[in-house]
């Protein structure tokens, strides 16, 4: 079993006077880990903290044994924000060539990254003229350039064609099989079944942290949506008691 890629202890993030994440503890190992929860529950904030761009109020975050955001981690983590962070006025190939120079990876990686998100046919198209799904795939390709050890993907499959969504999940598993730890967030509960492990999140706290099967069994539910509701109910009951 691989040593944990990410270890978080007591993470607290405060934004605008209210706390977004409260005293969070979690670990992320190998394989594909799903970070599931409704919009606004703190998924993006947690991801930003992991890649070292979020100001945190307290707690410890280590990634591969180093404090999150360390210089040595910057080319080992691939990060895809929710909005496609690429240049709309450049072509697909120009975007990737630019980021590959920043990361110091060869041109063959550019071709490979374009292939893996199935955009080879759009290489020379300006990103601003692509569809929303295609743009987010360009953004994903940028994260794949450096063959990252940890891939942090913020809702990468939102609004995509089901066929493409299936292909991307297959890609995430391929990357995980090759040794990357993959963290994928989603607010769509039916994506849970595609993950090796799940972190269920609500209002800045982790409700459950286990395999999808174990979470369902523990909650006595048939699907993750049901398990989520059951866990919320128990949590509220526990808090009232």
């Amino acid at each position: 079993m691989m040593k944990n890629a990410v270890e978080v202890r007591g993470l607290t993030v405060v934004r605008g006077g209210s706390s977004v994440l409260t005293d969070l503890d979690l670990t992320i190992g190998g394989g594909v880990t799903g970070l599931l929860g409704p919009s606004g529950c703190g998924k993006s904030t947690l991801m930003r903290a992991l890649v070292g761009v979020q100001r945190v109020a307290g707690g410890q975050l280590s990634v591969f044994g180093e404090p999150a955001g360390s210089r040595g981690l910057r080319d080992r983590i691939g990060y895809v924000t929710q909005a496609a962070s690429v240049y709309d006025d450049l072509t697909v190939a120009e975007n990737l060539r630019f980021f590959s120079r920043v990361l110091g990876v060869g041109q063959e990686q550019v071709a490979r990254a374009v292939e893996s998100v199935d955009l080879a046919g759009h290489r020379d198209q300006v990103v601003g003229r692509l569809s929303g799904g295609q743009r987010s795939r360009v953004s994903l390709a940028v994260a794949l350039l450096a063959t990252p050890d940890l891939l942090v993907l913020d809702e990468p499959t939102v609004g995509l064609d089901p066929v493409l969504r299936r292909d991307l999940w297959a890609l995430f598993h391929r990357l995980a099989d090759d040794g990357s730890a993959v963290l994928v967030s989603s607010h769509v509960m039916d994506e849970a079944e595609r993950c090796d492990r799940l972190l269920l999140m609500r209002e800045g706290r982790i409700l459950a942290d286990d395999t999808p099967a174990a979470i369902k069994q523990q909650a006595g539910a048939h699907d993750i949506e049901g398990a989520f509701l059951e866990l919320v109910a128990r949590d509220a009951g526990g808090a009232a008691a």
Partner: protein, 260 residues
């Protein structure tokens, strides 16, 4: 246990490569935007021609144009680069690409240096064109070396870029970024000696004018048109370059990897 997780050995880019990558990318973006490029290169030439035309009837010798032309040559690259840079950088912040770059192995100075390099190159072409039109077509009289006049214009453009980078940190929207133009640039234009010679300004304003970088750029330009000696020009140029470097350093300080 996976070997890659243990020892990650990769080819790393050095700072110079990253700086050039940023500069190359900015220039590619600009090349794609024909309208902006045309405005950057043609507009200063047209405006300086307009100025020359305004003065045509005032006296036959063109002396009035000789007096104000150099100041305007110093102002254009400064204003244009200030605007272009503050808006572009803001776009980079709001699109999330800046956050992505800062999560990568990129130094803040690599980023700023890349922008300064790219816009400095554009400014060099812009200034060369404006200077050629002024001297060749409009008969601006220059005693000092023309290349030094161009160098002052380029340094001035880099100053505009540096200040634009700096103020973009304080703007949340492109509207706000554009508002910094009157706030930061117009006082410098008013006090640079174009309207009232600097030594005739009230004491307080004279002192303020001594603290503003554009005053030195205009002094350098005016000196070059009147005299062939270059000592003072280099001094003024050093002050402008100093302000530009300070602007870049402040810009780097406002780029935060971690944000709320």
């Amino acid at each position: 246990m996976n070997a890659r997780i243990l020892g990650s050995r990769r080819l790393r880019s050095n700072h110079l490569q990253i700086t050039f990558a940023v500069a190359g990318r900015v220039l590619t973006q600009l090349r794609r935007d024909h309208r902006t490029l045309a405005m950057l290169l043609v507009l200063p030439c047209l405006l300086i021609s307009l100025l020359w035309w305004m003065f045509e009837g005032t006296d036959g010798s063109g002396r009035a144009f000789d007096r104000s032309g150099p100041a305007v040559l110093a102002m254009f690259p400064f204003i244009v680069m200030f605007l272009v840079t503050s808006v572009t950088t803001l776009r980079e912040r709001s699109s999330g690409t800046l956050e992505r770059l800062l999560a990568m192995p990129m130094g803040k100075l690599d980023f700023l240096g890349g922008y300064a390099l790219a816009f400095g190159a554009v400014a060099a072409v812009q200034s060369a064109l404006a200077v050629s039109v002024s001297i060749g077509l409009l008969g601006l009289h220059v005693e000092g070396p023309v290349w030094l006049l161009t160098l002052v214009a380029v340094t001035d453009a880099v100053l505009g870029t540096a200040l634009g980078l700096f103020v973009s940190a304080f703007a949340q929207t492109e509207f706000q970024a554009v508002q910094f133009m009157p706030a930061v640039v117009i006082p410098q234009i008013l006090l640079c000696g174009l309207f009232v010679p600097r030594d005739l300004l009230p004491d307080v304003l004279g002192a303020v004018s001594d603290l503003l970088p554009l005053s030195y750029a205009v002094d350098a330009m005016q000196h070059l048109t009147r005299s062939s000696s270059t000592g003072e020009v280099w001094q003024d140029l050093a002050v402008v370059a100093g302000f530009a470097l300070a602007g870049l350093a402040l810009g780097a300080a406002t780029l935060r990897r971690r944000t709320a």
